[in-house]
Amino acid sequence: MKMKLTPDQEKMLQGGGRTQQTAMAMLLAVGRAMDATDLIPVASAHIVIDAFAMGKPGADLIVSMAESGARFAVPATINAISFDRRTGPSPETATDYDVHQQRMLEACQVMGAVATCSCNPFSQGIAPAFGEHVAWSESATTGYVNSVLGARSNREGATAIASALTGVTPRYGMHVPANRRASVHFEVAFQPRNESEFNLLGSLVARRSQGRIPVISGLAHPGADALFGFGASFAIVANIPMFHIVGITPEAPSLEDVCAGVPPAPISITRNDLDRERAAYDTDGSTGVDLVTIGAPHATIHQIQEVAELLKGRKVKPGIEFTLTTNRSNFALAESSGLLSTLVSAGVKVTADRMCFGCDLGARKYQRAALLATNSVKAALSAPGTRGVRTRYGTTRQCVEAAITGIWKGSEG
């Protein structure tokens, strides 16, 4: 089946510059593979420029696009990068990657991107509207865009850049309303007590959905930060583009609305199930903590505030490395509101822009298997492989207490 192109799209393919032709070729190949009928306009693009995954060839490509004079056709934002722009590449982790990272970031800015440098652009006030078609890469953002905001995006990779350059995307997957329905139903028999439990629930639901879009019932509204955490954990465990929560996410006013036809029989999720899920991330029995990390994905200002309040007047135990990762927007808010000085004087290393602990493939591995405490499913899942650590998983409070005392206490929220 041949896709229908408008005269403008045909012009980009035939007469546009080399960059536009490459971008259109990518979108058409994807469209053919996925049975798209045509290309539809997108309102924005969120672009991952992961220097580790893209390497010099990826950086050369992006730079050549900017040098060819190509410019983004729609508003574009940038995901987290390999270093903090305030301090520049760290000598400790400096590699060629940082050089390529810098080149790609600059090239994207030349093409018109806003250097948000965050895996949580929502916390920077950047959020597509309900029903908007967009091309957002980074799995955690795509889940939130579809599920919580009700905008439409597929899981994009290199194609987010192609859509930014052309302003269009193939009509398939999440852009087709019928594909957004739920086909598996989970009923949660308890209320998660904190964000860390919502993260676990996201992981559990993703694991049990077996590739299908789930709808979850029985939950009270947990707030935006918990929904974002749920979605980030959900996305790292399974490549499912969205989820629904009855009465909470916008396309699920009721079970009947969100399921195509009669809702499937509910699968119950109990507190015992959640405790078992916790055990998948809280994998180490030892209690002498070496590292603590919070903010994977990038911490919101409320999450930063929570850490600051727990730390007030106390200090991180010498020898313990406590990192908090966030974006520039929330870093600035933390600074102006006095939260940053509380954190820094307590001994927390706060970074902006930079990828979260565990996602940073180029960073050094710990020599002996250091013990990491975190409230992030994403960090707990990726850091053992990328940073060579063992993990304890728990609440923000448990993590902060572990940073102060050096001892991990209990696994209950």
Partner: protein
């Protein structure tokens, strides 16, 4: 008897090479070492084998959306596959095939995962969608 099948061409180009068949999906990002072309995913059917210069036959991609760029990285070091044959392709492999300029065919009239064997000499035409075994490995 020569094996010949018709599929849907996703990216253009014509290539000939020795087949490497995987019945498991492939994650090019983190699953394949982009500096050597060797599959490094633990427990993968192709673990330890190189995709360089091969006609890579596999169900489809999996894992990170960064895999499109992994194909570009492999191709820039001449360590990429020369052609891709998928059961059902996906956005990440399709976009990567464009960036790496590798012909890609999917949805063949016969099951390539069964009829093509590792070691067969295979020709892939990404424009017409024709995939044919020129010489069987045994």
């Amino acid at each position: 008897m020569t094996v010949r099948m018709h599929g849907q061409g996703i990216t253009e180009g014509e290539a000939e090479g020795i087949a490497l068949v995987s019945h498991m999906p492939i994650a090019f990002n983190l699953g394949v070492d982009e500096r050597t072309g060797v599959v490094v995913e633990k427990g993968h059917e192709l673990e330890g084998q190189s995709v360089a210069g091969k006609v890579l036959v596999f169900p489809g991609g999996k894992g990170s959306t960064a895999s499109s760029f992994s194909l570009l990285q492999l191709a820039s070091l001449s360590l990429g596959p020369v052609a891709l044959v998928n059961a059902q392709s996906d956005a990440i492999v399709a976009a990567g095939a464009v960036l790496a300029a590798i012909p890609l065919v999917h949805r063949c009239s016969k099951n390539p995962l069964e009829l093509i064997k590792t070691g067969d000499r295979v020709r892939v035409n990404g424009r017409t969608g024709v995939v044919e075994v020129l010489e069987a490995s045994e």
